[in-house]
Amino acid sequence: MNPIIQVSNVRRSFRSTKKEEGLKGTFKLLLKPEFQEHEALKGVTFDIEEGSFVGLIGANGAGKTTLLKILSGLIPPTNGQAVVLGQDPFKRAMSFRKSISLVMGQKAQLWWDLPAVDAFELLKAIYSVPEKLYRERLDTLAELLDVKKLLNTQIRRLSLGERMKMELIGALIHWPKVIFLDEPTIGLDVLAAHKLREFLREFNQREKATIILTSHNMDDIERLCSRVLILKQGEIVFDGDPRKLKQSDECRLRLRLMESPAASDFAAIAHVPETAIEISGPTANGPPGDVADDEGTPSVRITLKRTQIAGVLQAVLAKYTLIDMTIEEQSLEKVIQRLYESGT
């Protein structure tokens, strides 16, 4: 299958003025402005197959939104090449614009003072959607998102979640082949975010649309994306299945012991670094931890690779009396956090 999106060594830098603090800085900016260059993307390369649901993850300023802007054709790359639907996005050909959609969770695309249905009517005309098809799509989308009753309400009178759903309808009414979603669940409550996720999953599966999603909400990524790209300071540090990311990484082994070990002793015995150990409850030479949480017995949590579990258990059992043990699944958020904190 040919990739629908091809990104090859894409770089993007921005130039902005730098203002020093206070009044002096203000005058300096007026008379002799200083500029700074910021490289938002540093040679990003990847392909995306048609019908994929891909998550773009990264801390603030990692380059996620910049990448979406390049792919949707809003800005050109400084270097490298991006090809979407076989076209250079920045040329913004009519056929390209009719085939994509960009939803920015923080930006309203509909008209504040009008009911959503008026905005959809206008979008129908802009995208030349035939009347019958428009009615069918509007019905489907409004039904899936549960907003049928709100179509005639002024946008400004809707809640954030309802507004976001309307934004999505507006973005999908022309049935785009590629959808870029930038933080679509930002500010939504749990229920609204869940509904939106369900809808996106169904739309992706039913229509085989390619969806690229950026989100700080790991629930969005875990539940929707079969592939994630993790960006760190403008570079891709992971590209693959999010489950693989969790599996290939570490897990947490939780042990309840009769004894109260010191972290340093325990680390030496278990052959793991002391930084990988958390001890709660009374310890041999430290302040008591969260005793209530661990029913008065010391509890040790060790972050380690799955392959290390047997060895660690063997070493620990030789020295301590074990009451019980559990292997805790690492949350994607934790894995990513660790990936970010590590030097890689």
Partner: protein, 269 residues
């Protein structure tokens, strides 16, 4: 490859309807805006003429009597609301805030889209002003055909006003802010369009100032035509000037937006 002109008239019609719906979403606000912005220049003119003719004792200024001035004020009211609104300000704000992004990705010209949405209430006002003018024509001594021609000029003025504003708004692509330049343009328009005072009041050797801008086509020219002060050949000459300005405006938009969009950074998230 040049995709050629966009011939989808449905979106234009839909944008026109949408613009009208948006402008009239708040009926009282719409009414207040129309009446308020028409009344203020008229009030300024009235105070000025009262000061000059009644308090100052003048009987004629630049060949115009007190009654001529009042007549001018009344007729100018029919046209002041037709010249563009503040949609050039909307464009510069869209560039500045990054909300232009949404429009750039839609399959239609953003500059044209914003104009069509903005002109919708103006077309409504044109109709209203035309009906009012025709009803009052016996009192104001206006020829209906002249009035219709004058309305046509006012509408061309609306397009030129927006074209120049849109081209100026593009400075926001470079400066990240274009508010001041649009404000200065609007002040010049107030002075040189004839909405505050008849342009014949300019000293004769400074007439070139208003003649060298297209602003006189917004209010002054329609008033002259409505009052029957211009001969048909003069009207044709000024129509030619208006058409030249339309072409200049179109060219300026193509140049400024063509270059500007390449610099657009889509800031703000």
């Amino acid at each position: 490859m040049n995709p050629g002109p966009d011939t989808n008239w449905r979106w234009r019609w839909a944008a026109l309807k949408n613009g009208f719906q948006d402008a009239t979403a708040y009926r009282l606000e719409f009414l207040f805006e129309v009446l308020g912005s028409a009344a203020v220049p008229a009030a300024i003119q009235w105070v000025l003429w009262y000061a000059l003719f009644t308090l100052g004792g003048a009987t004629e200024i630049a060949g115009m009597t007190y009654m001529d001035m009042i007549h001018y004020t009344w007729i100018s009211l029919l046209f002041t609301q037709i010249r563009g609104g503040d949609h050039d300000f909307e464009l510069q704000e869209m560039i500045r805030s990054g909300s232009l992004s949404t429009y750039l990705l839609r399959p239609c010209s953003v500059v044209e889209f914003v104009w069509i949405r903005g002109v919708a209430p103006k077309l409504f006002l044109t109709g209203l002003a035309l009906v009012t003018g025709l009803l009052l024509s016996p009192i104001l001594g206006l020829n209906p055909l002249n009035l219709i021609t004058a309305m046509g000029f006012a509408l061309i003025g609306n397009i030129i006003h927006y074209q120049l504003g849109a081209a100026l708004a593009a400075v926001a692509f470079w400066w990240e802010e274009g508010y001041s330049i649009l404000m200065v343009k609007n002040m010049l328009v107030s002075l040189l369009s004839g909405e505050l005072l008849p342009l014949t009041l300019f000293p004769a050797h400074y007439h070139w100032v208003w003649k060298s801008t297209p602003f006189y086509l917004y209010v002054f020219a329609p008033v002259q035509i409505a009052q029957g002060r211009w001969t048909p050949s003069e009207i044709l000459t000024h129509l030619g000037t208006a058409l030249i300005w339309l072409v200049i405006g179109w060219g300026l938009i193509r140049l400024s937006w063509g270059a500007g969009v390449r610099r657009y950074q889509s800031l703000g998230g």
